[in-house]
């Protein structure tokens, strides 16, 4: 093609592009003409004569039940008085609207009978961040106030009684650490980019409420209502049904949970009851506790500050998030490690003169007079430190660390709660890294009797107790059985999870269990205070020192399982500032087990 022709060809293409653009712009002007001039009066009318109100229909939050269908977290209708700021909007600056809202609040205060829960700042925040949602000025209106409001002659345009489901915890403190609580949802800036209309007003802030927030929240719906100048609603057409959230079914037994909480109500501590055959968490309590009802819908600041500065840390779930030295309750693990290594047998005897020499330094047994000649069964029953230091050194720290990890110590239990602490199983390698120091015999001795760097959570020790009880199977603690929809149909079932079988011989396990039987059932057993009539139980007590040198305190521990032959309950309890495991925790476990076996009346008194 000659050059000139090519250019002509290209120029004609450019003309075509221009024509296309011009056509599109003419089309656009046509649309504008149609919208603004031809149909303009429709929109003008729709502005002057009526307004559309978007009414949000909140979704019902899923409820939480225990294994016997006892409701632990419920919803209560809460009557609120709300302002629709888009309708109250005054011309000009938003300042005018805020003033108008404040004026109306003042008028309505007389009718409602109390001051509103919102300040001028709240109104501003609402305008900036959640304008299309109703601004709730009063919550929990009583029937008298509702009646006065329905008969008032005040200007009620843009004001409406609005029913909001409010979270309530029917048993107050019961299982508070597990359930957590809900609070006003924070919209992040990212949410604002989309459309916040269906975002939940409340979200879970802690515990199961937070973990299962997405399944329990449901999805809000909404309807469009046409409102004329007199406030009359013309059409009420549901545009989108709210979708309720799923119910959560716990493995918890609220009766046992209640008993467990009473057992430690007066002392800081924690207690866990597991079903050793499944790993089901029947009770998991931490003391002191809090009442989640006081947190809904907004935590009062004074309460929040008090709870968070309290040295006993009521907001902390000590059963999973706090680590302790286990002390002597660790000895069954040491015994199994020693038996398994072949270094000792159940018949191996040790002479306890009341101390054990580590090099040239004596380590004292708790009984300074000495236990004399002890075998495994006596060693466990009497919790003889010399015996365990001896067998621990014989089998070595690696064997003990390995057995401890087989029992699930040193790693998270996988219960699925926040801050599931892993604890620590010390090894020579760990000590080199953390302390830049060699592992010595003294470390092995300390480790053997559950002291030193070893740290565990109460839940981990309950898993140890359950594993000793069921013959060596470590189950993952199961807190939630499943999710159900509102009709009760199963959405999800969480299976029993067997983590591993601890590789120990049945004879070794039998020997250790016999020792633990004597701890509770023998007249001289350290855990005899836990004994209850008619039920054979086995356990192990422990006492671990903590705190500053000048102000040494003791944690009292006890693990327990019952009945001895076919265990149904495996328990671990720890209490701060105890005299000893046997004397402080024993009687508390006695009370708990009496309750579990129905040997006490409702008031906790023991029957004839």
């Amino acid at each position: 093609m000659p050059h000139g022709e090519t250019i002509q060809h290209e120029l004609s293409r450019i003309r075509l592009i221009l024509a296309l653009m011009a056509g599109l712009l003419v089309l656009l002007v046509g649309f504008l003409f149609d919208l603004q001039v031809v149909r303009g009066h429709e929109f003008e009318e729709s502005l002057h004569q009526q307004s559309l109100r978007r009414v949000r229909l909140p979704a019902t939050r899923g409820r939480i039940f225990d294994r016997n269908n006892v409701c632990l977290a419920d919803n209560q209708p809460c009557y609120c008085l709300a302002f629709y700021l888009e309708e109250i909007r005054k011309p000009g600056k938003w300042k005018n609207t805020v003033a108008e809202v404040q004026q109306r609040i003042q008028m309505l205060t007389a009718l409602v009978g109390r001051k509103p829960a919102i300040t001028e700042d709240d109104i501003w925040i609402h305008i900036r961040r959640r304008l299309p949602l109703p601004l709730v000025a009063w919550r929990s209106l009583d029937p008298a106030a509702l009646a006065r409001l329905s008969e008032t002659s005040c200007d009620m345009t843009g004001v409406e009684v609005y029913v909001e489901p409010n979270r309530s915890y029917p048993n107050n403190e019961l299982a508070a650490h597990l359930l957590g609580y809900v609070g006003k949802a924070d919209f992040s800036e990212d949410d604002m980019a989309g459309y916040q209309y269906y975002l939940p007003e409340m979200d879970g802030k802690m515990g199961l409420e937070r973990k299962f927030d997405s399944v329990m929240a449901g999805v809000a719906g909404g309807r469009l209502v046409r409102i004329d100048a007199t406030g009359y609603k013309h059409e009420e057409q549901i545009e989108r049904e709210p979708r309720p959230g799923a119910n959560v079914i716990l493995a918890l037994d609220s009766r046992i949970q209640c008993l467990a909480e009473s057992a430690i109500r007066d002392v800081p501590g924690a207690v866990v009851v597991l079903d050793p055959n499944t790993g089901d968490v029947l009770a998991l309590a931490s003391s002191p506790t809090f009442n989640p009802n006081q947190f809904v819908p907004i935590v009062p600041k004074a309460l929040w500050d008090r709870l968070n500065t309290d040295p006993a840390r009521p907001m902390l779930n000590k059963a999973v998030a706090e680590v302790y030295a286990p002390g002597s309750i660790f000895k069954p693990v040491t015994a199994l490690a020693a038996l398994n290594s072949g270094a000792v047998s159940a018949g191996t005897v040790v002479n306890c003169p009341g101390y054990y020499m580590i090099g040239s330094k004596p380590m004292r047994c708790w009984n300074s007079a000495g236990h004399g000649i002890v075998d495994l069964r006596h060693g466990i029953e009497q919790s003889c430190n010399v015996y365990f230091a001896t067998i621990g050194v014989k089998c070595g720290s690696e064997a003990i660390a390995d057995m401890a990890m087989q029992f699930g110590l040193g790693v998270k239990t996988g219960i699925g709660l926040d801050r599931d602490a892993p604890g620590l199983v010390p090894t020579p390698e760990w000590k080199r890294k953390a302390w830049h120091d060699e592992w010595r015999n003294g470390d092995t001795c300390n480790f053997s009797i559950g002291q030193g760097a070893l740290s565990v959570t109460p839940l981990q020790m309950a898993v140890v107790a359950a594993t000793l009880a069921n013959g060596g199977v470590v189950y993952r603690p199961r807190l939630v059985l499943g999710l159900r929809d509102v009709n009760g149909t199963a959405i999800t079932n969480y299976p029993v999870v067997e983590v591993r079988r601890v590789p120990v011989s049945s004879s070794a396990l039998h020997a250790v269990r016999q020792g633990m039987y004597d701890v509770v059932m023998a007249p001289t057993g350290t855990g005899k205070h836990a004994r209850i009539p008619d039920v054979e139980m086995a356990g192990k007590t422990g006492t671990a020192e903590y705190g500053e040198k000048e102000d040494r305190k003791k944690h009292g521990w006890m693990i327990l399982f019952a009945p001895y032959d076919r265990p149904r309950y495996a328990v671990a309890m720890v209490v701060d500032d105890a005299v000893s495991g046997g004397q402080t925790v024993g009687p508390r476990l006695h009370g708990l087990m009496m309750g579990i076996y129905g040997k006490t009346d409702a008031a906790g008194r023991e029957g004839g």
Binding site: M1, H3, T6, H9, E10, L11, R13, I14, R15, I17, L18, M21, A22, L24, L25, L28, V29, F31, L32, F33, L35, Q36, V37, R39, G40, H41, E42, F43, E44, S46, L47, R54, R56, E86, R89, P91, G92, K93, W94, K95, R128, L131, P132, E189, D190, M192, A193, G194, Y195, Y197, Y198, G222, R223, L224, E239, R240
Partner: protein, 392 residues
């Protein structure tokens, strides 16, 4: 020095009508940004002052580029393109996340949108590649080469995610190829493919069953093409206006009410009762939805006037293409005009509900520094082509 003076002299040959249209749009923008933000008592209320500063900076660029010989850009086109790519990659890593998308790079306290720079870079590179200096007009680089070169920044922009801005690349490149004399058949095939892809996305959003897609397939598909939930919602609302009248549908409807209630002559400056800010996410009113404010307050007269101003820009720009001294100038002008036109058309069409809501600004009018400067820079290039036109 003498070259500088003679360049200054060239400015007298500028297309003054075009300059008047440009200034008209900028002034309109400043006024209505003021209107859209004056009712707010927060920090956005001085946006119009910032916009004036950006416009002044942009106009300096405009005059600068008009004086500069556009043919010199041949030497820097590749460098500019690579720099744009680097910025686009950088924004993915170091970008500031504002409202869910990483589109801004903060540089000395100023936010830059690399996606806008990339558009100009692709236009420059395209103009160079499509006009070989050896005057071998029949030896065009293959379509694919240019589509690939445009495709890389386009995908990076979509990944930010900024689907609307990313899609602008398509008509831009297509128009440049067409104007450069590319064979219509392969071009149509590529464009047809693009249209088909868009249709596929729309169908996947609206009619997954027809395509035999299970919800899982649908999820995977959207993840693969980086279509976010809110983009899906907007497309759904556009295709099925009744679907979500409370959420995204509400905004579309309110925007229509705002435009419609403006009537023939509007409610008057600063008197828009619909108050665009009340129902739209507060960031977009002075930016992407500024046309809605203009239409409400100035009515059909005002909105049509804005459309006419863009028409003048298109006519002047394409006229510059036709009288250009060489092919590079022609292609350059076509690319720039198409970029600005696409932005303007899509933005205005979405405001009145004719197209789905995509977040792209109205050139020269919407608030936004990078885009203002880039647009004026680009329009300056058109003047640079025009003042060096043939037959002088």
């Amino acid at each position: 020095m003498s070259e500088g003076l003679s360049n200054l002299g060239l400015l007298r040959r500028m297309n003054w009508i075009m300059l008047v249209a440009v200034i008209g749009l900028i002034v309109t923008g400043v006024f209505f940004i003021y209107s859209a933000t004056s009712l707010r008592e927060d920090s956005t209320s001085d946006l119009f002052k910032k916009q004036i500063l950006w416009a002044l900076a942009g106009l300096v660029c405009y005059l600068g580029t008009a004086m500069m010989d556009y043919r010199k850009l041949r030497d820097v086109a590749w460098g500019f393109y690579v720099m744009a790519l680097v910025l686009l990659v950088a924004v993915l890593f170091f970008g500031t996340r504002i409202y869910g998308a990483k589109r801004w790079l903060m540089f000395l306290g100023v936010g830059i949108q690399p996606s806008e720079i990339a558009k100009l870079a692709v236009i420059l590179l395209g103009a160079c590649l499509l006009s070989p200096p050896a005057e071998k007009f029949d030896r065009l680089p293959s379509l694919w080469k240019l589509f690939m070169l445009a495709g890389i920044p386009m995908l990076l922009v979509i990944k930010e995610p900024d689907l609307g801005s990313g899609l602008v690349f398509l008509p831009m490149v297509a128009a440049m190829l067409y104007a450069a004399g590319a064979a219509v058949k392969p071009l149509a095939m590529v464009i047809g493919g693009g249209v088909l892809a868009v249709m596929l996305v729309l169908a996947a959003v609206a009619l997954p069953e027809r395509l035999g897609m299970t919800p899982e397939h649908q999820e995977t598909f959207f993840q693969t093409i980086h279509l976010s939930d809110y983009q899906r919602q907007r497309i759904e609302v556009f295709l099925q206006p009744g679907k979500d009248p409370m959420g995204s549908g509400w905004n579309k409807r309110q925007s229509e009410i705002a435009v419609g209630s403006g009537g023939l002559t509007g409610k008057g400056f600063l008197k828009g009762t619909q108050n665009i800010l009340g129902f739209l996410p507060r960031t977009v009113a002075p930016t992407d939805f500024i046309f809605s404010v203009i239409s409400e307050e100035k009515g059909f007269v005002g909105s049509a006037a804005v459309v006419v101003l863009y028409g003048i820009l298109a006519v002047c720009g394409l006229y510059a293409a036709m009288v250009a001294r060489d092919k590079m100038g022609r292609v350059l002008c076509v690319g720039i005009v198409t970029m600005i036109f696409t932005h303007a058309f899509v933005n205005m069409a979405m405001t009145i509900g004719v197209l789905p809501v995509v977040g792209i600004p109205l050139p020269l009018v919407s608030y936004g520094g990078t885009f203002m400067v880039i647009t004026l820079f680009a329009l300056g290039l058109i003047q640079s082509v025009y003042v060096r036109r043939q037959g002088l």
